[in-house]
């Protein structure tokens, strides 16, 4: 197990290193002069020079990269050029929208997919199975931002059950906060729930073909009993991996959904920074999101190894 963890740890560090180099290069090296990019073509030479000094652009590239990474490790993400406030503080505010949204969506996805997957698997080939599988085909084909617009049209504009956008804030109470995240979470969760349902179903069906299920049936369990007592637990391993992958997807996918609902999360922060050409913010928030995604994948890998001992040696 130690070897497995160490191996994963090395690949984690390597991934983060490559990710930071790529993001740094895309933002700071490829466009040429980031200061000129940020200020546009009408910038006065002295303003341009002042920004270059502020961003530390006179230092060599390697030094800038090291300073950037070292800063982030210590929680210093730099200063936003447009807002003149530390980026770390801006992130701290917005993370409390993006992270709960992703968790909420993940919870919904699991709550929809588990029963649907088990139902479809237990009625394999029958009408119920076909109905569920047909719905998942449509679920994966629906763009989540469009589904979000439809939800707004029905539940915010027509029925007035939920707000059409914006975030109430956690200081208004848990309920108010969750209420403003409900439609976004459903929009995010739907395509993911469709995928998870399929994985759940096929993983269960795989298990139902295994010898130990035949043994369970032979000792007198009904098909349904065998499914609940023996197949389900074993089928959960691949499902857990997908859930982990989905969490990272939900974090990143939230970017677009936050746009639809005008939620003040990390996604909106990136877009506002892009339109304000605030490269420092773009760079740091993208790095943070990539970091979160890679970390989640790392934790999933470890959990996977803990659940299924065979994997520790397989790699």
């Amino acid at each position: 197990m130690t070897r497995y963890v160490l191996g994963r740890l090395v690949s984690l560090i390597l991934s983060l290193a490559v990710a930071s180099v790529v993001i740094f290069s895309v933002v700071e090296i490829v466009p040429g002069d980031p200061a000129a990019y940020m200020l546009g073509i009408n910038a006065r030479p002295d303003t341009l020079q002042a920004l270059r000094v502020e961003l530390g652009l006179d230092a060599p590239v390697q030094e800038r990269y090291v300073a950037w990474v070292a800063g982030m490790v210590q929680g210093d993400f730099g200063i936003s050029y447009t807002y003149r406030t530390p980026i770390a503080a801006m992130i701290a505010d917005r993370v409390w929208v993006s992270l709960p949204l992703a968790l909420y969506a993940l919870t919904l996805s699991v709550l929809i997919a588990f029963p649907a997957g088990v139902f479809a698997a237990s009625r394999r080939g029958r009408l119920g199975d076909l109905g569920v599988m047909g719905s998942t085909q449509i679920g994966v084909a629906i763009p989540n931002f469009w589904f979000a617009m439809i939800l707004v049209m029905i539940f915010a504009i027509k029925l007035r059950w939920f707000p059409a956008g914006g975030f109430a804030g956690w200081d208004k109470g848990l309920f108010a906060g969750l209420k403003s995240l409900t439609l976004p979470a459903f929009a995010l969760a739907l395509p993911q729930a469709a995928i998870l349902t399929r994985v759940m179903r096929s993983s269960l069906l795989d298990m139902l073909g295994e010898d130990f299920i035949r043994t369970a049936r032979a000792k007198g369990l009904s098909r349904r009993q065998a499914l609940w007592r023996h197949a389900l637990r074993n089928a959960l391993i691949p499902v857990l991996t997908i859930i982990g992958l989905q969490f990272s997807f939900l974090l990143a996918g939230g970017i677009v959904i936050e746009q639809v609902f005008f939620l003040p999360g990390l996604g909106r922060m990136i877009f506002q920074a892009i339109s304000a050409r605030d490269l420092v913010v773009v760079e740091s928030v993208v790095m943070l999101l990539v970091f979160l995604v890679i970390m989640v994948n790392f934790v999933v890998d470890l959990a996977y190894g803990a659940v299924d001992p065979r994997l520790r040696t397989a790699r």
């Binding site: 690949s11 390597l14 990710a19 895309v26 490829v30 049209m153």
Partner: protein, 273 residues
């Protein structure tokens, strides 16, 4: 042999959209560069089958022109993925177990671990929003998909007897890869290509929805939805039509992919029977 229902429905839907995109080159019901403000936001009618948008443009014509953009972006992105991914996968399989194999596969894992949407946004934000940058951003994330799949497929072919025969006859591993391995994994690639195509359509729609895809005056489904967002309450059809179009296109491609897999890979049929 009988064609499966998903293959037929998927093929019809896909051909329908390809046809609409092709027809748009020679004819659309209305000219989408001409604005007709007095006729704005009309619901579907005999003259405008899908209604008109906020500038009085015919939505059916916009959808046809948008099909071009979506299909072109997704197709070229799959092209990038196949063009770079398959050679990498074949190379890794031919040098199985070597450091080269290791480097290629680790590189794949790395790209895979990146949140594709975030990176696509970063690329299009820094290099400017355009269809070309959207193609590159989507295409990059197709590379590891095809590299992995072609390597796995190639490895199973490499162990066959006819490959041994080819080696004995003195063919180099490069020649074997191109002449014997590639034709045998072609089906697998086509099926995966269909799936990546549908994901590409969705990714293009998302990118152009947030303003990072094809720029005006090029029509695109995602931007039609972005424009429709504030109008959805007074004219629901402007939001419903482009969304449904995306759903049907993606659904068609997914069904086509499933159908092709069943058709081209006999093993799957046996398992399902």
């Amino acid at each position: 042999m009988k064609y499966s229902r998903s293959l037929i429905i998927g093929a019809i839907l896909t051909l329908f959209f390809l046809g609409a995109a092709a027809v748009s080159f020679v004819w659309t019901p209305f000219d989408i560069t001409l604005l007709d403000i007095p006729a704005k936001l009309q619901p579907p009618s005999l003259a405008h089958w899908m209604g008109t948008d906020q500038l009085g443009r015919d939505i059916l014509s916009m959808v046809m022109m948008g099909a071009r953009t979506s299909i072109a972006v997704a197709f070229l992105a799959v092209g990038i993925g196949m063009g770079l991914g398959i050679p990498l996968g074949l190379l890794a399989a031919a040098r199985h177990g070597s450091w080269l194999d290791e480097v290629i596969m680790r590189g794949n894992d790395l790209v895979f671990a990146f949140p594709s949407l975030v990176i696509a946004i970063l690329i299009t934000a820094v290099f400017g929003p355009s269809a070309v940058n959207a193609i590159i951003a989507i295409g990059i994330f197709n590379i590891p998909v095809f590299a992995r799949l072609s390597r796995a497929g190639a490895l199973s072919i490499w162990s066959r007897d006819f490959i041994l025969a080819a080696r004995v006859s003195g063919k180099s591993s490069a020649r074997i890869s191109v002449e014997h391995i590639l034709p045998n994994i072609g089906n697998l690639m086509i099926v995966q290509g269909t799936i990546q195509f549908s994901l590409g359509i969705l990714a293009e729609a998302a990118l152009s929805y947030i303003g990072l895809g094809a720029q005006p005056p090029t029509a695109s489904w995602g931007r039609m939805l972005a424009d429709a967002q504030t109008l959805a309450a007074i004219a629901p059809h402007v939001a419903l039509v482009p969304g449904l179009v995306i759903v049907f296109m993606v659904l068609g491609l997914n069904l086509l992919g499933d159908g092709l897999r069943d058709l081209l890979d006999p093993r799957v049929r046996v398992v399902r029977a």
